[in-house]
Subunit: 285 residues, 4 copies
């Protein structure tokens, strides 16, 4: 029987359905929950009391900085600043995955448009170009020929943020079916996987772009790879996107502050409850 | 006896005097040096041959991404992507230092202007406000009252890069003399320290802002702290800025791709040669 | 006698209370009103049918471009693209006012920070610095000394929009009382004037910054100057901000798509009705 | 015989070959020339002595603001702020041309991506999309299908400058030969016209993008249209770009601070000398 009520602080900026579900699940699990709007609260580098901290800000930098401040205070948030930042910046993500021998698409990084042209020439069309930062498939671009290559290089060169001038140039992975796979990992456990299929007239499968989701039965192999990727990034609550390539499963992206509305709809798995259970188990230890 | 000439690749974007000195010192030490302009060369995530890699791009993101690509290839550059990124972003720097119990100025992080106002009220004037990114003291602002507070908050809110909207709010550290201290660390060794004094009409001591440098004799205590800070950031070639506060020495900033022109002038220490020696010793091991 | 109901199209982006009042007043005056959201409608350079067009987009560029498109179609909107653009960009505003011998604050334009320093030295402190673009007093800065001068120059130099790097450097106008005056002009008629007084702890009188409004009785002199300024800018619905300086009344700013909530509250004058009457009279002619 | 030497001030930011040629030609014509770097000189709104002013800053906003400041001082620069600004912003250019019944490509203005999609649907592919601001063909994009349409809309939506989010959507003008025509106007006189042909692998004819130039003999008709366009924009030194469309000659763009290196090479006409002669004739009057 539990007779104590540890506090869980949920750090958010714009509360989505996910944050509301998590807060409810934590309360149902017997936690006292304190939601903290990170845009309204100064975060001191010392003096914050020990507590359980779940980072859920939509903005990658807000999530990273909140985690970093907590770590300065000796607190280990779920997820860490390392996980959030290295999951949120795709150059860093691919670097960690590759360094851990996890298969990824063939990729070249170019730091401006001039070297992007060289990378395109070497990679050949069609290819995929994306900047390091961005969610929901934004600016992930399928480039079919030099005309489109020039459009992308010219536009990207006009961005002011230094990272957005960077091109991640990738092979366009041929897949048996037009879909990718997303697996959801909590702790060392895989909650399951879903297919994501692009909507009509769109090649990207992101739900934000109209992608359709569907549960994937018997996903042991996918889960195994996803768990490896999660471990490489030290992620405790993390989703992993997988491609079925001609040379087997490869990891395409990860998300260190994952949304899970679509996943819940497709699988029926209550992700929020699983997060609450994971935290409960952690506390007991 | 060494009879082979290992290759050192020096990754740069805008070659400064420092890069030229380093390349010469490496050649004098018997290395074959290959300077690589990271803005002109696609960087593949696999297939790069093992080599000694020294990262020297002026742009923090270019340096970080170059290091990350090398790590993806199984190569450990000097410095690592972790060191460059966590030294280059001041929120992350302070987080690592504080988590390692290294004394820093009293600091609050606020993620926008609204919470910056709260932090100012709590900290009291005069205080220092700076954004996470930026070199050479740029935008490091001494705020003396609410009039200046509003100027900074309004201007900062107009920046487009998310990190630049973040305020690092710090106590204005009172110092016995108007100067700070910079120590230069290579490997586990402290090359020495210098004083930096602001020029007339400027409160910041940055050399880029006209600061004057002067060697500091008997800097054991400073070196000891600097070595601790370098270890926390896992930096192998790194400079550490120190304040003499009323409560003792505290670390103010670090630089993961350090310039050293001023340091050489003040101390007479040949930093480039020391870097070459460090790399030579590493290779022999 | 008029027995038909001409169409008035009200071009808006974010409908404020002002736009709602105008639409109602126009309908009450017997017009058929068609509100057009300019962010949702392509605007063709030819083929638009003759109609009465009132431009009310909050964004200066959206208002200017909408007016320009209508003019391409041979339609004369209220206000014209010239009025909106030259009222919206303060360098252009001051240029037109000065060229028409309308008194303005002593002003120097500098195109970057380096020449701003020279202008500050010549002008002397305290002075006012503002960028060409911006509403509601945003970035209008009172600079009291070189410390604040450097803060403003450094921050402004980091903006990416070329106009925002421009400094409008002005004398700080000494006034007998801490207030400015806003007059509202429709056609050739002055609807009246109000005082605007800054809120506690703020030197700017903008209502958006908490400024208090109060009707000004007997404002013939102010109206006379405001009508001259409106004519210089060819504005048909325009507000004019006036300072009571030691050398008499001077025009400080104008607004080509004016808000009038505060004006109505202070004076009891129904501005929306007056706009509708003005349009009705125009149609009859 | 001329026995006085009036001063011509040439306002520049980055001196190109054109500015050097102009200064030499003015000196050869007997003028005392004072080059003024507008980035280094505060520009006061009153107190500038009468002089002949030629505006030649590369930056459109610097040129516009310099002209505006001179006009505030009662000086009429070549060209005026109206000409520079309305030539430099393509929405305003097309508006003036269309309002003056000068034929232009079929064009729709859309103020964001959502309405750009509607304009694309109405216009049909292939089409041309360009932002209001930008020189040398930059971001002028040929869009062949919905895939490319989405690339452009997504990238453009990420720009921070409000004007750059605006889409000028135009028919792709079919031309008998792959070239456009540029005519150079000084005062009311046409100096001649050239063909510009795109380089291999590029559809735009801009010289900055490798376009080839060639003199056009017998260009009466082109000159006539160019003179009309110059008059509409009140330009005294201006170049006009013309398309040979199926429905006759149409004006595509104008340049209010025109480069003329390529024009001189192709035609052998000394543009700088002609500018000096024009100014001389103006002074004599």
């Amino acid at each position: 029987m539990r007779w104590f009520h540890p506090v869980v602080k949920v750090y958010y900026d714009m509360p989505r359905i996910e944050e509301k579900l998590i807060i409810k699940a934590l309360e149902d699990a017997g936690f006292k929950v304190e939601p903290i709007n990170v845009t309204k609260t100064p975060l001191p580098l010392s003096g914050i009391q020990e507590h359980i901290a779940l980072i859920r800000a939509v903005s990658m930098f807000r999530s990273t900085y909140t985690a970093a401040v907590l770590e300065a205070n000796g607190i280990k948030p779920i997820n860490s600043s390392f996980t959030i930042m290295f999951s949120g910046d795709k150059v860093l993500t691919y670097s960690v995955l590759a360094a851990n021998n996890i298969p990824i698409p063939k990729t070249m990084i170019t730091l401006n448009g001039e070297s992007a042209e060289k990378a395109y020439a070497e990679m050949g069309f069609p290819l995929v170009d994306k900047p390091p930062l961005g969610s929901w498939g934004r600016l992930v671009t399928l480039i079919r020929d030099w005309h489109e290559a020039k459009i992308v290089i010219e536009h990207r060169s006009m961005f002011n943020t230094p990272q957005m001038k960077v091109h991640i140039v990738q092979e366009y992975v041929k897949m048996p079916e037009n879909r990718d796979i997303r697996c959801f990992i909590i702790g060392d456990r895989c909650l399951g996987c879903i297919y994501r299929k692009p909507s009509e007239g769109e090649w990207r499968s992101n739900v934000a772009l109209g992608g359709k989701v569907e549960a994937l039965e018997n996903c042991e192999e996918e889960c195994e790879l996803a768990i490896k990727a999660a471990r490489a990034l030290k992620g405790k609550v993390i989703s992993i996107d997988i491609f079925e390539s001609e040379r087997g499963l490869i990891v395409n992206e990860v998300n260190g502050v994952p949304e899970f509305k679509g996943f819940m709809r497709a699988t029926g798995v209550n992700v929020a409850e699983n997060i609450a259970e994971y935290i409960k188990a952690k506390v007991k230890r």
